[in-house]
Every structure is written in C-alpha cells, then in structure tokens.
C-alpha cells in the first residue's frame, strides 16, 4: 500500500512541478474564472436582483468552468513525446496513476478556487466573510468529487478526437449534483442560517464523493491500454 501512496505522491509532485515551471494553466484558469465572475455579474436586472442574490450561483458556475478548463492539463502534458507510455512502463502500480493524477488535479483546482473565492466575495460585495472557512470546506468537499470524475473522464478524452468538447459534454452532468448542492449550501450559509439546515445537501455531496471516488478509481485501469 505504501508503494501506491509513494508513487501517487511522486506523480502528483511531478505534475505540479511541471505546472509550477510555466504556470500557464494556472494563470489561464484563474483569468478565466475572474472573467466568468465579471460576465455573470452583468447577467441580471440590477434594479430587481441584487448581486448578493446571484453570488452563490456565480461562484459555483465559475468553479465548474474553471475545473473543466484546468482538468485537461493533467493528461495533455503526458501526450507530448509519448510521456504517458513512459508512465505506464514505469514500475509503479496502475492505481497509483489515478490517485497521483487525482491529487495533482485536486491541489491545482483547489488553488484556483482559493484565489477566486475571496475575489468573488469582493466583486459581489458579499457580507458573510465570517462564513468563509465553512464555505471553503464545502467547496473542498465538492471539489473532491469534481476532480474524481474529471480525472477519469479527461484520461479518456485526452486520447480521443474532439477531446476538449467531449470532456465538457461528459463531465458536466456529473458536476450537476455537487454543484447544485454547493449553491444551496452557500446561499443558506450566507443568509446566516445554521449548518444543520443544509445537512441533507452536505450528505448528498459526501455520498457523491464516496461513490464516485470509488467508482472512478476502480474504472480508471479500464481506460489504460492493455
């Protein structure tokens, strides 16, 4: 087991090191997130709907889009000069590839969210700064699921034609349950309601995490060439 963990950490570290050298994906995903936040701000009638009312939706739509944009990176880097074959040939367990990619993606997407969350609070003039840590926790919980499905799907679409289109089409239905739950929880928390009121939604995200993290890790070897 420790072999899997060590290999997974090694893959995640490798991916993040590659990203850190150029920061192309990070900067573009972040700039994209800010753009989406700005566009959604204007997608309302300012005399009828306050910015605060659409802030939870705007936040989660931004995260969903930024996740999809960022996820391509993990397997795209492996395509160049057949790096993925090297990864498959290296003496590491197959499941370590999934967990390594998942961890690298999770840290990558979480870092984009960590920056765009306070930006969204500033842009939309949200009053609930004290709720920020709890909301960040919910976002992390949902991101676990986003990235689990995203890692599995992008492993496939990175090797198909029209991959970027297919990734979005196949991934979005899976992001729907955790994203809707996230919007509902964020909205309630920003209204100052207690956490107990959103337990149903929290359980939904937790169950989604467990089911899809398990499924994605089990199905991942089937996406690799034999």
């Amino acid at each position: 087991m420790t072999g899997v963990v060590r290999a997974a950490l090694w893959i995640a570290a490798k991916d993040l090191r590659i990203e850190w050298r150029t920061r192309t994906a990070f900067v573009s995903a972040l700039a994209f997130a800010v753009l989406v936040l700005a566009v959604i701000f204007f997608s309302r009638d300012p005399t009828a709907v306050s910015a605060g009312a659409i802030a939870p939706g705007a936040l989660w739509v931004t995260f969903v889009f930024a996740t999809m944009l960022g996820l391509r990176r993990a397997f795209d880097v492996e395509r160049e000069r057949m790096a993925f074959d090297g990864l498959l040939l290296s003496p590491i367990p197959r499941e370590a590839i999934f967990w390594g990619k998942w961890l690298g993606n999770l840290l990558f997407v979480a870092s984009i969210e960590a920056v765009s969350l306070p930006v969204a609070f500033l842009f939309y003039d949200v009053a609930g700064w004290t709720r920020l840590p709890v909301i960040a926790g919910v976002i992390l919980l949902a991101t676990v699921a986003f990235v689990a499905v995203g890692t599995l799907v992008s492993a496939m679409t990175a090797r198909t034609r029209h991959g970027e289109l297919l990734l979005v089409l196949l991934l979005l239905p899976f992001l729907f349950p955790p994203a809707v739950a996230g919007v509902q929880i964020t909205a309630r928390l920003l209204e100052g309601r207690p956490l107990s009121e959103v337990m149903g939604w929290l359980k939904l995200i937790a169950a989604f995490d467990i089911v899809f993290l398990t499924l994605a890790s089990l199905l991942f070897p089937a996406t690799l060439d034999e």
Binding site: F176, A222, D225
Partner: protein, 234 residues
C-alpha cells in the same frame, strides 16, 4: 463469433419485428382513439399517454440495458456485448427523443407549461444528454478495443449518476415547491385504458427489440468490413 451471414439474418429478423411493431402501433392508436374512452378532465389531450408512457418505459429499458451491458463488458470483454450496448444506447436516444417531445406536447395543455424542472423530467434530460455524449465518444475513438472500454466506463458512471440527479432535484424542489401540483400517485386506470396502455408497452418493447437487432447487425457488419479492409491493406 460474428459472421456476415449471421449478422444479415439478425438484421432481417430485426426488420421483421420492427415492421410488425409499427403496424401494431397503428393498431394501438386505432384502439386508443376509437375504443378507449375519453378521459374526463383531460379530454383528447390524454390520448398521447398511450405513446408517452410506453416510450418512457422503452427509453429506460434501453438505457438500463446499455448501462448493465457496460458493466458486463468490463468484466467479460466480449465484443458482442459492446455492439449490443452501442445498439441499445442509440435506440435509447431515439426513444428518449420521442419521450422528450411527446412530454411537452402533453404538458402544455394539462400543466399549462411546456417544461418543469421536476425530478423525473430533469433526470431524463440529463440521461438523454449523457447518452448523446456516449455516442459522440464512440464516434471519436477509432480503435475498437479502446472505444469499447471508454464507452463502457461512461455507461457504468452514468448508471451511478442518475439516482444522484434524482435526489438533487428532489431536495431542490422540497425546499422550493412549485405552483404546479404533480400527482405523486396516478389515478387508478379504468380497465379499458389499462389494456390499451399495456398493449402499447408491448409494442414499444417490440420496437426496441427490432431496432436494436438491426442496429446490432449493422455494427457487426461495419466491424467485419473494417476487418476485411484492414486485411486487404495488409
């Protein structure tokens, strides 16, 4: 193994079943219009029921079978299972199109709206879109083994997703009840209507079987031709 003769025979039987089903469908409609009483509150608009509900049955049958076959494929790795899943998914998309067009046509006069984000409607829409993605993914992969594995993965994931979408919309709606009241338990159907409905269920199942057999044979023949061409090219 699959041979050209066998695939052609499957296609021919499938065609026969489809023709029979289409004729029977005309019969269902004759019965629904002439021999089944008009529903008291909904009037003639209710007649679409005999098309809509069986289409829903056949859609979920098709997608359910495609999902289960995906799981089976990952276990047994048999090419015929993959062909069957492909056929079932494609026929499912056609049936879902019938379902998603007859639904709004019925909903407008009865509910007063074309669409409502109810749990069943939303799940069906997502399922429909997911299987469109499934078919597009199949089209985007040229290697048959890879295509089968990739689409099986999506099929299994889709099977697990549907209950979550249902639950999401259910939680969403219980917190924001909509003005349109949906009956949770349908009225007990009078015997005559029930017979028409059940007959239509049978017809749609036949339609599914006939279309899937033809689509399966088509897929098998396509693969055989590709194999021959690859052989000829050396």
């Amino acid at each position: 193994m699959i041979t050209t003769e066998r695939a052609t025979r499957v296609a021919r039987i499938g065609f026969g079943i489809t023709v029979l089903a289409v004729i029977a469908l005309a019969g269902i409609y004759a019965r629904a219009l002439a021999y089944t009483p008009v529903e008291r509150t909904q009037g003639l608009a209710q007649k679409i029921f005999y098309l809509h509900v069986p289409a829903a049955w056949a859609t979920f049958l098709a997608f359910g079978i495609a999902g289960v076959l995906s799981l089976l494929y990952l276990w047994l790795k048999d090419r015929r299972i993959d062909l069957f899943a492909e056929a079932s998914a494609e026929v499912g998309v056609v049936l879902a199109t019938i379902l998603l067009t007859t639904g709004p046509i019925w909903a407008k006069p009865i509910w007063g709206t074309w669409w409502t984000w109810d749990a069943r409607l939303t799940s069906t829409l997502f399922l429909f879109l997911l299987f469109i993605g499934y078919l597009l993914l199949r089209g985007a992969v040229t290697d048959p083994g890879m295509r089968a594995r990739f689409s099986a993965v999506v099929g299994v994931m889709g099977l697990a997703l549907i209950p979550f979408i249902h639950l999401t919309v259910y939680l969403f709606r219980t917190q924001h009840p909509e003005p349109i009241v949906l009956r949770t338990d349908g009225p007990a159907l009078p015997g005559v209507m029930l017979v028409t409905l059940l007959a239509s269920f049978g017809v749609f199942t036949m339609l599914y079987v006939g279309l899937v057999m033809q689509r399966y044979a088509l897929g098998a023949l396509r693969d055989l031709r590709l194999e021959r061409e690859a052989h000829a090219a050396g």
